[in-house]
């Protein structure tokens, strides 16, 4: 119950302050522009619907992770810097309950971004055969990635106790996770590229989207990558729990 009250406070803070609301506006604007370009630009409109859907899904996932990184970095270190954490620690809520409430709120941000993206996914992917399965995979893998990056950033912010520094480190890890996607197709087919793709949860999610939406492959093709993403989610939650239990002012 205490977790729920902390989550409610965090969500109110996100929605009522410009910090959080800006993300939602930005998401809508960027998705509108992307969708408009996909549907009207003569070159982009040559892409099949699966490809368009895949690109929008990648963008929504990246944005969800980015929001997770920012809200995770602010969660503990931001409260320390604003001098509000001590009052929270004085309350009967345990450190784990506080972290769980904050993590749940960060995931709620991802849920809002996901809900905002649904009409755009329908507009871009309508008529395509894999639209619904694409949305389901986006919901599940996007949530798992949001858990991974939010929990990791939050754990880091509890250890570093500086919002700026934890944001920089988390953002660098986010860029590192995104970098294999920018590798050339030739490099990605080598054993090195494959290993890099496999151990990277972000690349695993993107490759799963590609496999489901573009190549129309079934669940049995995805289990290995999904298991790796689940493993990362478990490890990041463990990291968060250990980091907050050691938290000292």
């Amino acid at each position: 119950m205490k977790t729920a009250y902390i989550m409610r406070k965090e969500i109110r803070e996100s929605v009522l302050t410009s910090k959080g609301f800006l993300w939602y506006i930005l998401t809508s604007v960027i998705l509108s522009v992307l969708s408009y370009l996909f549907l009207t630009n003569s070159e982009l409109s040559l892409l099949d619907q699966g490809q368009m859907l895949y690109m929008i899904m990648n963008f929504v996932t990246a944005l969800g992770i980015l929001i997770g990184v920012v809200s995770g970095s602010d969660a503990i270190a931001g409260e320390i810097e604003r001098g509000t954490l001590e009052a929270l620690l004085l309350s009967p809520a345990s450190k784990t309950e506080i972290a769980a409430g904050k993590l749940a709120a960060a995931l709620m941000n991802w849920c809002i971004i996901f809900v905002i993206s649904i009409p755009y996914l329908f507009v871009v992917g309508k008529g395509g055969q894999n639209l619904l399965s694409g949305i389901v995979y986006l919901a599940v893998l996007g949530t798992l990635l949001a858990v991974i990056f939010s929990a990791f950033s939050m754990g880091l912010s509890a250890r570093i106790k500086s919002m700026k520094n934890s944001l920089i480190v988390s953002f660098l890890i986010f860029l590192l996770a995104g970098s294999p996607i920018f590798l050339s197709a030739a490099l990605r087919t080598t054993w090195f590229g494959r290993v890099l793709d496999l151990v990277n949860p972000f690349a695993d999610a993107i490759n799963t989207f590609d496999s489901v939406v573009v190549d129309s492959q079934g669940f049995s093709y995805q289990t290995g990558r999904i298991a790796i993403i689940c493993g990362y989610a478990f490890l990041s939650l463990l990291f968060l729990k250990r980091s907050v239990s050691r938290l000292e002012m």
Partner: protein, 238 residues
Amino acid sequence: MIIKVENLVKRYDGHTALDGLDFGVEAGDVFAFLGPNGAGKTTTIRILTAIIRADSGSVLIGGHDVFKEPAEVKKIINALPESSGYYEWMTGREYLGFFSDLYEGKTSTQDIRALLEAVGLHGKEDHLISSYSRGMKQRLGIARSLINRPKLLFLDEPTNGLDPIGRRDIHDLLIDLNRKHGTTIFLSTHLLDDVNRLCNRIAIINYGKIVRTGELEKMKGKGTIDDIFFTSTEGGTL
């Protein structure tokens, strides 16, 4: 005894903040915890309120071991930290409501209103905290620290930065709390005027050790509170 501290040690990166602290506080006391800057006052309060752990030693609060039963301790205590921040986007009423929700036996809306009135924030309860002055925020912090009707209240420099009227109001509020409700007050300060006005017992800490403790009235026979403080903390910085 509501607080019993024995041989408390806390080290930070090789620096010994508390070096075998021993003292006790009786229920109903207004206990002044004095010391120069960096003497270990805030560290002691953070350990006593179960926010940080000590390296060794024992602390009993109301008979509960603070390291083994922090949840039980948090039910009977509360505190106003030295550099307390506030959720500026909330109103005073929402702020108290949020903290009240975190306790079992939630405070009613009427009680929250009464609490805000008691600290002199009547009429300002629905204003955003960002519009409050420093003194108003300090009053709100005190109201927050009373939300669970604590038996033991820790206050870390509660009148720092307040004007004389604000200080007098907080003094009156604390006297009222102690006399009418029997709340034990643990007051960390280096404002000796606060001590003279409010406290019946004192302990002076310097370099992480208690250098003097006892009843204020008895100590006053040996000089003013200023004399006692300065002779006890030679080498420290006020």
